[in-house]
């Protein structure tokens, strides 16, 4: 592929666009108090928030995989007419504003929620203000990313092995478990990584549904939010680490990104 000549018009706008996207991150890194970074990140509340975010997002990702992969499989292989109706609904959280996600979760699982009221009446327990609410929010906002990617992977599996298995009269479950799953490892990994990043970064819905208590529900992004009032340096430090994580995610998906934009 030979390089084509670029016109000045596109180039200028492209440079503006590029700067618009890159400068904020550069600015963030320019503000990070590197000398005190270690002490800021090891403050009790910062550590608690980072640890909570890490384990809750990983747990959320695990749920996303366990439940999302079968959902993606059904979407890929189910009756087209039904699946086409269901798909937009299960993918909706991708474009849902975080506040709407938070309100919806409260409407479902709050003490007076659609399901939450029965749980509360029976047990006196409700999900808001617990760490499980943080995990649940992560699953809600993260799973659609996994489903989106994995369904598409399932749809594009080479058909030879599957046809061979069908000739051998493999059951549908064996087909899924032994043929489709192993061949889709990369797609599942990509989807899981996206779901994890989304769950890790969720802020608005979590604050609405899970509240904010250091050590229990105050996540890393929430800590950034509260530190902007208290100690901007710490807010920059915490933000920078999150930004590095985000860059690492995008970097590790660079092949998928390039393929996505090359066609």
């Amino acid at each position: 592929m030979s390089r084509k000549k670029l016109d000045g018009f596109s180039l200028v706008l492209a440079i503006i666009a590029g700067l618009l996207l890159i400068l904020p991150l550069l600015a963030l890194f320019s503000k990070v108090p590197w000398a005190t970074l270690a002490t800021r990140l090891t403050e009790s509340n910062a550590l608690k928030a980072m640890w909570l975010s890490v384990w809750s997002s990983l747990l959320a990702t695990l749920f996303c995989i366990i439940l999302g992969v079968p959902l993606a499989w059904v979407l890929a292989r189910g009756d087209r007419r039904i699946v086409n109706i269901i798909r937009p609904f299960v993918l909706a959280p991708i474009v849902l504003p975080p506040t709407v996600a938070g309100t919806s979760l409260l409407a479902l699982l709050g003490r007076h929620g659609l399901i939450g009221r029965y749980i509360y009446d029976a047990t006196g327990w409700s999900m808001p203000f617990t760490a499980s609410a943080v995990v649940f929010t992560g699953v809600f906002v993260g799973m659609p990313f996994l489903v989106l990617v994995v369904e598409s992977t399932f749809r594009h599996l080479p058909s030879d092995q599957e046809e061979a298995a069908e000739i051998d009269r493999a059951t549908p479950f064996v087909l899924f478990r032994r043929i489709a799953l192993p061949q889709s490892r990369n797609g599942i990994a990509t989807g899981a990584l996206l779901a994890w990043a989304r769950a890790l970064g969720e802020f608005g819905a979590t604050m609405m549904f899970a509240g904010s208590l250091p050590g229990l529900t105050q996540t890393w992004p929430m800590q950034v939010y509260f530190e902007t009032d208290q100690n901007m340096g710490t807010a920059y430090a915490l933000s920078a680490v999150m930004a590095i994580v985000a860059l690492a995610v995008v970097f590790s998906l660079r092949k998928q990104l390039r393929r996505a934009f090359a066609s």
Binding site: I94, V95, P97, P98, T99, L106, G110, R111, H112, Y120, G124, S126, P128, F129, F145, L148, V149, S152, T153, R155, H156, T190, G191, L194, A197, R198, G201, E202, F203, G204, M207, A210, G211, S212, L213, P214, L216, T217, Q218, Y225, F226, T228, D229, Q230, V250, L253, Q256, L257, R259, A260, F261, A262, S263
Partner: protein, 253 residues
């Protein structure tokens, strides 16, 4: 074609990873817009006063941003374009004192313990917060309503349970209490009054500890000095005091 769909879907997935919370947007009026940063607890009263101000000054639009005072102070320090700042504590006004002029106290408020009238667990006194299974919330420690809650609880001295959430601003606390997600919350007396149909209040014995004072001031860099002064005058006028008193605010000392 199929291949392409997949690529596009991955691209969409990656692109939409970046979700941004949106701050209150400022709309432009045809003539002059007066921007007022006010403590979350002033929401209803200041909107009432703002409407009166707009009626008395045709062509002027009053634009409010209601957030925790500490949050607003941070924004002001970052050169947020406000003309007036009304804070729920002297502490947060002090954070921006060098940006302000004509600062005066205009109201007082106190925190109370509030609980839904209909609730599974009954709370009748402050120490009932220690009852098993009670979920209660307050504002974050750095926010005025949180600082007042801390002081009030310290004065009471016998509450050993901890809140299940430290919310970013008092209106979030009130919303969660009114929707019944928690059994109790420490909110302002004014917030209780606004929701007395569904809430009951339990007062702290030490009124002084539970009280916070509200200063208002004009941002030095305002382009609407005269209008800003006139808005502050309206807040301080007998009409303004009446609106505030009806909502349950106390007199400024």
């Amino acid at each position: 074609m199929k291949h392409r769909c997949r690529k596009i879907s991955i691209a969409v997935a990656i692109l939409s990873l970046i979700a941004t919370p949106v701050q209150a947007s400022l709309t432009q009026s045809p003539n002059v817009t007066l921007t007022v940063f006010a403590a979350s607890s002033l929401g209803e009263t200041f909107q009432t006063i703002g409407k009166t101000f707009e009626r008395r000054n045709p062509g002027v639009k009053v634009q409010f941003s209601f957030l925790a005072s500490s949050n607003l102070a941070t924004q002001l320090n970052a050169d947020a374009p406000a003309d007036i700042f009304a804070s729920a504590s002297v502490l947060d006004m002090d954070l921006v004192r060098n940006l302000m002029t004509d600062v005066t106290l205009f109201a007082a408020n106190r925190v109370v313990l509030a609980t839904p009238r209909v609730n599974r667990i009954h709370l009748n006194k402050i120490v009932d917060l220690n009852k098993r299974g009670v979920k209660w919330i307050q504002c974050a420690h750095a926010v005025p309503c949180g600082a007042a809650a801390d002081a009030a609880l310290a004065s009471q001295g016998r509450v050993t349970s901890k809140p299940v959430s430290l919310e970013a601003k008092v209106s979030s606390v009130v919303a969660k209490l009114v929707t019944g997600e928690v059994d109790a919350a420490i909110i302002y007396h004014t917030d209780y009054l606004a929701n007395r149909a569904v809430l009951k209040e339990i007062r702290f014995a030490d009124t002084e500890a539970a009280t916070t004072h509200y200063p208002i001031g004009i941002v030095r860099s305002t382009k609407h000095q005269a209008l800003a002064k006139s808005f502050v005058s309206l807040v301080m006028s007998s009409y303004g005091r009446k609106v505030l008193a009806e909502a349950g605010f106390g007199q400024a000392k």
